[in-house]
Amino acid sequence: MNVARLVLVRIAIAILTLGFVSVVVFLGTEILPGDVAEALLGQSATPEAVAGLRQALHLDLPAYTRYFLWLGGLLSGDPGRSLVNGLPVAGLIASRLPNSLMLAAVTAVVCVPIALMLGITSAIWRGSIYDRVTSFLTMSIVAMPEFLIATLAVIVFAVNLRWFPALSYSTEIGSLGQFFRLFGLPVFTLSCVMIAWMMRMTRAAVIDTLRSSYVEMAVLKGARPMRVVLTHALPNTIGPIANAVALSLSHLLGGAIIVEIVFNYPGLARLLVDAVSTRDMPLLQACVMIFCSAYLFLVMLADIAGILSNPRLRHR
């Protein structure tokens, strides 16, 4: 009973947070200097041309009216039309979201098993040569900026060796081989940082549990190391590990911007950056809401996993 209530409360908090986020997003985009009329007209933005276009785009309405119009549209599933090209925002996002999800999914499939495996094993054998080597490598990679990894990868694997294309967008994915060629470099770039993060957090969580008194008790009672880790320690680290994974994965959707720019991959993050620079508010707000929702959703899942895996709650 208690568990169900905790989960429901957690979901309610997520929804409330989202409502709050919508206000912050709207206010945040309001204070950006300049507006879409100026961005559209570029160097020919004479005052009268700007005023005319602003009126045509309904930008002359007061802010609160536009907020409620926008929120109403969002709740009824219609985020409006892009101010800069007149296309429906939903359609623009629908053309990019699958690309972002695909990239995130492929990266997650590659990263999560490797990171968990590395994290757990180096926690078990902490202090060993193996642990020290993996720690050294992951720390070096975390310290390297993503654009450097991406650029180096392009220069080595695309320009010099020509194993992979330098650009990663093509609608002509016909075979598994082409799929690997196209996703190879972006996924490699994202994985470097992603695995390193996730591995460090997992390692810390497992070490934390291994230091606890009940693990010490199990060891004292003569349980073998494998059994101590698998049945005593791991179940108690599901919560923290889930959090580590969720935090890393939430980065994949919006934080893949560097990768999208270097590989010219048409994902959602680039759409967001475009929307900021052209002051295309409906699009910008919809993108930010998607990122926030994805983030909140992943963190909420991690929390729920933590709640469900908590023996003290489970065995009540």
């Binding site: 950006l32 200097p33 300049g34 009329a37 100026e38 961005a39 559209l40 007209l41 570029g42 160097q43 020919s44 933005a45 004479t46 009268e48 041309a49 005023a51 005319g52 276009l53 009126q55 045509a56 892009s82 800069v84 090209n85 007149g86 296309l87 623009l92 053309s95 650029t151 392009v154 220069i155 695309a158 320009v159 020509r162 294309p165 330098a166 650009l167 967008y169 720019i261 270097v262 590989f263 010219n264 048409p266 680039r270 759409l271 475009d274 929307a275 900021v276 620079s277 052209t278 295309d280 699009l283």
Partner: protein, 500 residues
């Protein structure tokens, strides 16, 4: 036939073959801009990607050639009367839109009238404003009455914003134009696919079967895409990348001399620019040779503090070149009374190379007793929030199709981008007179005097004109530079072909 003669014929045939356009092939082109704001609607086009795409799908009434002289395209004849205030246009009769319907005067009237509707948001509204009456005088004849004479109207029609769309067109998710390629796909910020228009009115053209066009805003990524063979042509290459491209035997650099520039703007309506001696001091502080060599890596042409570049037919080479002269600068500075004072210069990546140029000025300033302080601001929002809003800051201008447009936008007393707030009645009068004069021989001295007036009086310090660079695979042929901008004045699609 003797052997020697046969040999000569063979050689000749080979070179002839190398220069004969070949039909067929697909290429990928990467321009320097990419955004969800990309459009297929000519009046609203903004930047290299939109302009290049526009020339694939649409035509203007005219098109600008290597000397920026307008050549007839959709128009068969453009004739002025009443001292260039009334223009009679006859249209070609053999032109069809991609949907099969013929080009008529209604399409031209609709396309031109749209510029005056503020809701369309035409970027070229100022150029269209003088077109007072636009009327169809027959199925293939259009008459335009201007509010003031303009001998350059045919050149204005060569600006890509004035490309012709179908009468009544409001939906621009796909292009329906008369251009050399048909639009098979268009996704703003992603890519467009152009396929050959088999019924194009220019015989034999275009040559390629298909062009995939997309923007890669990140310059290193764009160059890498060319180096790795993923694309055949890239727009806007930084001089810093030139070496990487020229060292690859399969690639070539494509240079276009144009009137594009980045300038230092000193406002004349506030201190310190309100003191003419201060402005002259700064103009003598520019080491143009050094800027050309160090900042532009020799991809620039020395300028003379006025915006007409040597590719323009009205450029005046007899105007004495202002040179780097710290002694003169010190003299004018002392006379201005601003010795040992500190002034901020606003620089931004939005005006490319502005920071480097300002640093050179700063060094010269230290020698002669003038302290410049660099104030760096971000590129985002620069043109609305900073440009023209500081006593001393940087600006930039694209190549313009005519000297008249250049002057009217940027130097006339009431021009919207009269960045230095320079006012000169003589200049304004000359501009209007030259605009009404259809005889180039009579216009030339007027433009020469206008260049001198700007050179002497305006607060615009214009050290060099940039040579814009593009790069391409060696297999791509047919590129010629057109000073209207990168990529053959954005008009490459119709002219290029791919060698086997």
């Amino acid at each position: 036939m003797s052997v020697a003669a046969a040999g000569a014929v063979a050689t000749f045939a080979e070179t002839a073959h190398a220069q004969t356009p070949r039909r067929g092939g697909r290429i990928k082109v990467a321009t320097s801009q990419s955004s969800n704001a990309e459009k297929l609607d000519p009046p609203r086009g903004l930047g290299q990607t939109d302009y290049s795409r526009g020339s694939m799908f649409y035509n203007g009434l005219t098109v600008l050639d290597e000397n920026l002289t307008p050549q007839l395209a959709l128009a068969d004849e453009i004739a002025p009367s009443e001292r260039a205030t009334v223009w009679n246009i006859k249209l070609r009769r053999d032109v069809r839109f991609h949907d099969g319907s013929p080009l008529t005067s209604a399409d031209v009237v609709y396309s031109l009238r749209r510029h005056k509707d503020p809701a369309v948001g035409s970027v070229a509204r100022m150029l269209a404003q003088p077109m007072q009456e636009i009327t169809a005088t027959g199925p293939h004849e259009v008459r335009i009455r201007l509010s003031e004479p303009n001998a350059d109207l045919p050149a204005v029609f060569g600006v890509s914003h004035f490309q012709i769309v179908k009468d009544g067109a409001t939906d621009f998710r796909i292009a329906n134009g008369t251009g050399p390629y048909k639009c098979a796909e268009f996704k703003p910020g992603v890519r467009s696919i152009a396929v050959r228009n088999e019924e194009y009115f220019k015989p034999g053209k275009p040559y390629l079967d298909e062009i995939e066009l997309f923007g890669i805003p990140d310059e290193p990524a764009r160059v890498n895409a060319l180096l790795s063979g993923d694309v055949h042509l890239v727009g806007s290459v930084n001089p810093r990348s030139a070496q990487r491209i020229t060292s690859d035997p399969n690639l070539a650099l494509f240079e276009t001399k144009s009137g594009a520039y980045v300038d230092l703007v000193i406002r004349l309506d506030q201190a310190p620019g309100s003191n003419p001696d201060f402005v002259l001091a700064v103009k003598h502080m520019f080491n143009r040779e050094q800027i050309r060599r160090a900042v532009y890596r020799n991809y620039a042409v020395i300028a003379n503090d006025h915006p007409i570049d040597p590719t323009n037919r009205f450029y005046d080479p007899s105007l004495p070149q202002r040179s780097y002269d710290p002694d003169k600068a010190r003299f004018y500075l002392q006379r201005s009374g601003f010795v040992n004072q500190t002034f901020p210069i606003v620089v931004s990546p939005a005006a490319s190379n502005s920071e480097e140029m300002a640093q050179l000025l700063q060094q010269t300033g230290q020698q002669i007793g003038l302290n410049f302080q660099l104030q760096r601001v971000p590129a985002d929002g620069y043109w609305t929030n900073h440009y023209m809003k500081h006593p001393i800051g940087f600006g930039a201008a694209n190549a313009q199709p005519t000297a008249d447009i250049q002057f009217s936008y940027l130097f006339k007393s009431d021009a919207p981008y009269n960045a230095s707030a320079w006012r000169n009645e003589r200049f304004d009068r000359l501009l209007l007179e030259a605009r009404a004069e259809t005889d180039d021989a009579k216009r030339r001295p007027m433009y020469a005097e206008m260049q001198r007036l700007i050179h002497e009086g305006s607060g615009v310090c214009l050290p060099v004109f940039a040579i814009v660079l593009d790069a391409h695979s060696n297999r791509l042929k047919g590129l010629r530079s057109i000073p209207a901008g990168n990529l053959m004045g954005f008009n490459f699609a119709e002219h290029i072909w791919l060698e086997q």
